[in-house]
Amino acid sequence: MEQRTVTVGSASGLHARPAALFVKAAAVAPARVKIRVGDGRAVDARSMLSVLSLGAKKGTVVTLEAEGDHAGPAVDELAALLERDLDAEPGPA
């Protein structure tokens, strides 16, 4: 199993636009990724409601997990997304 532990970088945490961006990226990732806070239950990263319920704020440490082919790149890509301050970045044109 591939794992990455990262700190949520968006100012609003894993809420609103950052959550939407993360969930959309997870939906098209090459492997099924799960996300958990600390030792909590790991939830499907494609589930907006589950991701929101994590209540992750800026600075919360989360762990991404995935198995099988392409697990590594999938987890890397989503981890990189979480670390950025997505609130500071401009929206789509």
Partner: protein, 557 residues
């Protein structure tokens, strides 16, 4: 083959267009036996969720940035795979699609609500998606104002203020409701947007989506099944773009024509190009603001706006009024028009409860804060600001309010007359305050003991009811005796025929939606004060509302 339906015409104009029904919130039907074909039922639920997700994503595309973010998040929630799994599990366990959806959403609702804060606020978004998905699964129209992508006639059981936030007069051609009365929110909204509207049209329940109808907001007649090509839509009646003011009768007796507004945005020029000449003329020609509804600025606030924020909002409006007089009404809230930050307890009869000035009995600091902010804004802008309180019942209340206004440094205090007791004691009220403003919508409600929202009692709520006119006459006489102004700011002021009667009863100013100003101005200019007084006498003496209107219609120019 056409069918004719009748209701009450509350906003004039004739249009032809297709019906789009606004769905109400679907009620969960009683639980039945397990579905005969569970997999088909799973498919039905999944299709409902997909429909909702697509609809929300499409709306996000056309929306402003902030709205788009919320709609997109909602679309993702509707498309949530974990939610879909939860629904499917419940269907396979024996629930119908609607019940499975309700329960699955309920689970997440509890999670979000328990988390509170930002997540707690998402509960309303989730409920909205749940209602839409249930409606889709039950084969009903989706709740909320439709956005089919073409202009249409909005048909609904009734319209609440929250339902119509963001209603775009460029895509909605007319309003038709099954319930509602001349003073209901639908009527007020329609007049302010310049949309033809018919309320209390019970048969509208049978109008199907797509039916082409001809709506006449003046006569209240809706004709269904017309040929869209055959009938030309007419422009709203009496635009009279040549009015410049000031308001006066034919023999020069002044009657100030003023505006009813809720925010500085109400003064904005019409950027959408709907070509509403009457509104532009009204904005320019009116002599000031006769009713500034301050609560509209704070309708969605859960924490009290502080002094600085209030002052900024008031300054913005005073400036938008461009040096003209502004009559500001202090917060008019009650259990039915809630201002969340007041935390008012629910009441069994909100119309008869702690509302308007009565809130100051339980929360005096709210009124003090508002008056201080108004005074600050008046000083900062140099505007001429008059302040009045809603829902005043006694001369003692009026006197105490006037004292508070003057203590805050504002020179001119008045009260609204909405309660019959206030009308009967208008002379005592005028001994304590500088002016009166009659709220005819609520005065009609309390005098005729008829709920403003009731479609069944619409006739009792007709502003032409002679008993109500008689109370207005009492106020007019008191004003004349005291040498103080008595205005009308209810919907009655916007009716050119009724305006003549009001002036004949002694009313000295009329406040209305901007687009109504030119027609009222023209009607006044065509009659002398003596003629207005004759029309008023005929109206008060009439046997009923319809007879009063007919008598004045026959005698007026």
């Amino acid at each position: 083959m056409t069918t004719e339906l009748t209701g009450l015409g509350v906003s004039p104009g004739v249009v032809v267009g297709p019906v789009c029904r606004m769905g109400g919130r679907p009620a969960l039907p009683p639980a039945g036996p397990p579905p005969a074909d569970p997999e088909a039922e799973v498919g039905l639920a999944a299709a409902a969720l997909e429909t909702v997700a697509k609809d929300l994503a499409a709306r996000a595309d056309g929306a402003g940035e902030e709205a788009a973010a919320i709609l997109e998040a909602q679309a993702l929630m509707a498309a949530d795979p974990a939610l879909a799994d939860g629904v499917a599990d419940r269907v396979r366990a024996g629930a119908s699609a609607a019940h499975a959806l309700h329960a699955a959403f309920g689970e997440y609702r509890e999670l979000l609500a328990a988390a509170g804060g930002y997540l707690g606020e998402r509960v309303a978004d989730l409920d909205d998606i749940r209602d839409r998905a249930m409606a889709a699964a039950l084969g009903r129209p989706l709740p909320g104002v439709p956005a089919p992508g073409y202009p249409y006639v909005l048909v609904a059981e009734d319209l609440a203020p929250a339902d119509t936030v963001g209603l775009d007069p460029r895509t909605v051609l007319a309003l038709v409701t099954e319930r509602g009365s001349p003073t209901s929110h639908t009527a007020i909204l329609a007049r302010s947007l310049g949309l033809p509207a018919v309320v209390g049209c019970r048969a509208a329940a049978e109008l199907a989506d797509g039916t082409v109808v001809r709506v006449d907001g003046g006569s209240g007649v809706v004709v269904a099944g017309v040929d869209p090509a055959g009938i030309a839509a007419g422009p709203p009646a009496a635009a009279r773009p040549d009015y410049t003011g000031p308001g006066r009768t034919a023999d020069g007796h002044p009657v100030q024509l003023l505006l009813n507004v809720g925010s500085a945005a109400d003064f904005a020029p019409d950027a959408g190009g709907t070509g509403d000449a009457a509104r532009a003329v009204g904005l320019a020609g009116a002599e000031g603001v006769g009713l500034f509804r301050t609560e509209l600025l704070f309708l969605d606030r859960s924490d009290m706006p502080d002094a600085a924020e209030q002052q900024r909002a008031y300054e913005e409006l005073f400036r938008a009024a461009g040096g003209r007089k502004v009559v500001l009404r202090t917060l008019d809230a009650g259990a039915d028009k809630p201002l969340p930050f007041l935390g008012l307890r629910p009441e069994p009869n909100p119309a008869l409860g702690v509302r308007g000035l009565r809130v100051a009995r339980v929360m005096p600091e709210v009124l003090e804060a508002q008056l201080a902010a108004v005074a600050g804004a008046a000083r900062a802008t140099g505007a001429e600001v008059w302040v009045m309180a809603p829902m005043v019942s006694t001369a003692a209340e009026a006197a105490s309010f006037a004292a508070a206004v003057r203590a805050a440094g504002l020179p001119t205090a008045g009260v609204m007359v909405e309660v019959p007791a206030a009308a009967l004691h208008a002379d005592r009220l005028l001994a304590a305050v500088d002016f009166l403003s009659i709220g005819t919508n609520d005065l009609g409600q309390y005098t005729m003991a008829a709920d403003r929202q009731s479609g069944d009692l619409a006739e009792l709520l007709d502003p032409w009811q002679p008993a109500v006119l008689q109370l207005i006459a009492a106020c007019g006489a008191a004003g004349r005796q005291a040498g103080k102004p008595v205005g009308v700011c209810g919907e009655a002021a916007a009716d050119p025929l009724l305006a003549l009667v009001l002036v004949g009863l002694g009313v000295t100013s009329l406040s209305m939606a901007p687009r109504s100003v030119p027609a009222v101005g023209a009607a006044l200019a065509a009659h002398s004060l003596a003629e207005c007084e004759q029309l008023a006498a005929a109206a008060v003496a009439a046997a009923g509302a319809r007879e009063a209107r007919d008598a004045v219609q026959a005698a007026a120019r």
